[in-house]
C-alpha cells in the first residue's frame, strides 16, 4: 500500500464539478501528512483542458470515447484497475449521483473498507480518522478504518473548493483495461423542460417539506408565498409525490439556491436538502421537532404548528 490519496473527480457538460476541487484540496493536506501524493483522476473524452485545473501533486486523465458520458460499468473497470495499480491509502469519491454508483462497488471489488456520508477526514499521527454523518445527519460517527486502504464517499461542501484549484499538468493515458463488451450502455440525457419559474433566480422562497402533510395544504403555502412576493419551493418528498414540479425541488438531486429569504415549513433538514440551501442569506424554519437538524442551519426557528403560523402570517399580511 502507498501513502497516496486518490481523488476520483467528476464533470458534467464539460465542467468540472465543485466537489472535485473540494476533495483535491483536502487530499493535498492529507497526502502531505501521510507522506504520499494527492493524485487526481479524471475520466472522460475531450476533457484534457479541464484535467489541468487541479492543485494535485499529479493528475491522471484517462481519455476514451466510452468514457465521454458517465457509465458506471466503464468507469468502474478503469477505476478498479487504477486503484489496484496505485494501491492508495485513501480513495476519495463524491457522495453524488456518480460517486454513489462507484464507491461501494470499488471498495467491494478491491477488498477495501468503505465509508459513506463522509463530512471530514483527518490524518492523526499517521492514522486516518473519518467522520461519517449517519441517520440523515442525526448522528456523527468517527472511525479509523481497518485494512489496506479505504474508499470514502465525501459529501458536497465538506471542504473548501479553492484549495483544490490549480494548474497541475495532467498525464493523459488510454484506459488501462479493455472497455469492450460493456453490459451497460449510455443512451441519452434528458433535460428539464423550461417554462416554470427558475427558483435559483428568485429572492424569496417559501419551501415546504413532508410536514405539510397533504396535497391540499400546498395551497396555503402558495397563498403565503404570493402574499410575500415569494415563490414556493420544496424538498424531495413533495416533488416525488407530484404535488409540485421537479423544477421546484431544492437539494442534492434538485437545485442549489441562495435566496435572500428561505422560509421553511415542515422540512427537517436531511443532508440532501441542506446541500441545496445552506447558503441562503436568511433561513427561517418552522418544524415541530426541536431536534430537527434544520435548526443547526437556520438563522431563526420555531417549533410551532406550521399551519397555525402560516395562517397567522397570511392574516397579518392581508
Amino acid at each position: 500500500m502507498s501513502n497516496d490519496v486518490l481523488v476520483i473527480t467528476e464533470h458534467f457538460d464539460g465542467r468540472v464539478a465543485d466537489i472535485s476541487y473540494e476533495m483535491v484540496g483536502q487530499a493535498k493536506e492529507l497526502a502531505g501528512a501521510l507522506g504520499g501524493q494527492a493524485i487526481a483522476v479524471m475520466l472522460g473524452s475531450g476533457m484534457a483542458d479541464q484535467a489541468n485545473t487541479f492543485a494535485s501533486d499529479a493528475t491522471i486523465y484517462v481519455d476514451d470515447a466510452a468514457l465521454e458520458q458517465f457509465n458506471p460499468e466503464a468507469y468502474g473497470r478503469v477505476l478498479a484497475a487504477l486503484v489496484a495499480e496505485k494501491s492508495p491509502r485513501l480513495t476519495m469519491i463524491g457522495s453524488t449521483a456518480v460517486g454513489m454508483d462507484l464507491g461501494a462497488w470499488l471498495a467491494t471489488k478491491t477488498g477495501q473498507a468503505f465509508v459513506a456520508f463522509v463530512s471530514d477526514i483527518a490524518a492523526e499521527e499517521g492514522n486516518l480518522v473519518v467522520t461519517s454523518n449517519l441517520f440523515a445527519g442525526k448522528m456523527s460517527a468517527e472511525v479509523e478504518p481497518e485494512g489496506d486502504g479505504v474508499v470514502t464517499a465525501v459529501l458536497a461542501g465538506a471542504f473548501p473548493a479553492e484549495a483544490g484549484q490549480g494548474s497541475t499538468a495532467a498525464a493523459q493515458i488510454a484506459p488501462p483495461v479493455s472497455l469492450d463488451g460493456l453490459k451497460t450502455k449510455f443512451k441519452q440525457l434528458h433535460r428539464p423542460e423550461g417554462g416554470d419559474v427558475d427558483i435559483t433566480a428568485v429572492d424569496k422562497l417559501v419551501a415546504i417539506g413532508r410536514g405539510i402533510g397533504s396535497e391540499d395544504n400546498v395551497e396555503l403555502a402558495e397563498e403565503l408565498a404570493e402574499a410575500m412576493g415569494a415563490v414556493v419551493a420544496a424538498s424531495r418528498p413533495i416533488t416525488d409525490a407530484g404535488w409540485l414540479p421537479k423544477t421546484r425541488q431544492v437539494g442534492k438531486s434538485g437545485l442549489t439556491v441562495k435566496p435572500k429569504l428561505y422560509l421553511m415549513l415542515g422540512i427537517s433538514g436531511a443532508p440532501e436538502h441542506l446541500e441545496g440551501m445552506k447558503d441562503g442569506e436568511l433561513i427561517i424554519a418552522i418544524n415541530t421537532d426541536p431536534d430537527a437538524p434544520i435548526f443547526d442551519v437556520a438563522h431563526y426557528g420555531a417549533t410551532s404548528d406550521l399551519f397555525d403560523v402560516a395562517e397567522a402570517m397570511l392574516e397579518e399580511l392581508e
Partner: protein
C-alpha cells in the same frame, strides 16, 4: 422475469436516537426498526415492472432482530409474490457490507433477472447495499434510478442527476439497480390485506451461513456538534408569525 428486491430493516428516525454507554454506536435496545425508505421505493418499482411486463417479485431481507415479518407481509400486500428472510442468531447492528454478503448468497440461489434495492441506507458507514451486491454477484449496477422499464433481456433505466437532468441507460440483464424513487409514489397497502397476508402467506426462511459480524471500528458516535443553532422564536402561533414577519421586514424583504 424473475425480480428480486433486497431490503433492509433500519432504525426509525421518528424516535429519539440514543447512543450506547460506550459512545460507539446506537443503543440498539432502544431502537424501533422500520423498512429503509428507499427500499419501499424499490418494492414499488418492482410491483410496477410486474404490472407492466409480467414476472414474479420476491422480496428478501436479513431478519436481524426477528421482526421482519410485518415488512414482508406489507410487501406481499403491495403486490410481491414471494417473501424470504435470512435468519440466524444475529446481534444488531449487522452492517450493510455484511448484509450484502448474506443477501448475495441468498440471491444467487434465486437466479434473478433483475435485482432492485434502495439506493442507500442511512444507518451504517457502508451506506449502500446495491453496488456491493452488484460487485459480489458480478452484475452491472446503475443507481440513483427513478424509472425502470424491462423489455426482453434488457432494462432501460433512468438515472437522476442534480437539477432535474436525467440520463437513460440500457443494461443487459441480469443487473442490480439502486432505486432512488419509484416512477410513482409507493402504493398504500390496506391493513386488512396485510393481516390477511400475515395469516396466509408463507415466508421462506434461509439459514445464514455466517451469524457473527464485526461492526466497523467506530471510536465515537454522538449527535453532531453544530457550528451554530437557530435563534428560537417562542410563543403562540400569532406571536411567532408576527416575530417572523418582523425579522423579514427588518431585512427589507417585505
Amino acid at each position: 422475469m424473475n425480480i428480486v428486491v433486497a431490503i433492509k430493516h433500519v432504525p426509525s428516525l421518528a424516535d429519539e436516537l440514543e447512543v450506547n454507554d460506550e459512545g460507539t454506536n446506537l443503543d440498539y435496545d432502544m431502537v424501533d426498526f422500520v423498512l429503509s425508505e428507499w427500499d419501499e421505493q424499490a418494492i414499488e418499482q418492482a410491483a410496477l415492472i410486474k404490472e407492466a411486463s409480467g414476472g414474479t417479485v420476491t422480496v428478501v431481507g436479513v431478519d436481524v432482530i426477528e421482526e421482519l415479518d410485518n415488512v414482508l407481509h406489507t410487501a406481499l400486500a403491495k403486490g410481491a409474490d414471494k417473501a424470504a428472510k435470512i435468519v440466524g442468531d444475529f446481534e444488531p447492528p449487522v452492517e450493510s457490507r455484511d448484509q450484502a454478503q448474506l443477501l448475495a448468497e441468498a440471491i444467487k440461489e434465486m437466479s434473478p433477472d433483475l435485482v432492485l434495492t434502495g439506493v442507500q441506507a442511512i444507518d451504517d458507514l457502508n451506506g449502500q447495499i446495491g453496488p456491493m451486491l452488484a460487485a459480489l454477484l458480478d452484475m452491472p449496477y446503475v443507481g440513483v434510478v427513478v424509472n425502470v422499464a424491462v423489455s426482453g433481456d434488457t432494462a432501460v433505466v433512468t438515472k437522476e442527476y442534480a437539477g432535474g437532468v436525467t440520463a437513460e441507460y440500457e443494461v443487459a440483464l441480469p443487473a442490480v439497480i439502486g432505486i432512488q424513487a419509484a416512477s410513482q409514489p409507493p402504493r398504500y397497502a390496506p391493513v386488512s390485506k396485510i393481516r390477511q397476508m400475515a395469516k396466509t402467506a408463507e415466508i421462506e426462511e434461509i439459514e445464514a451461513e455466517e451469524e457473527e459480524f464485526e461492526p466497523a471500528p467506530i471510536n465515537k458516535m454522538a449527535k453532531p456538534v453544530a457550528a451554530g443553532h437557530a435563534e428560537m422564536i417562542e410563543g403562540e402561533p400569532e406571536e411567532v408569525a408576527a416575530k417572523i414577519l418582523g425579522i423579514i421586514r427588518e431585512k427589507g424583504l417585505l
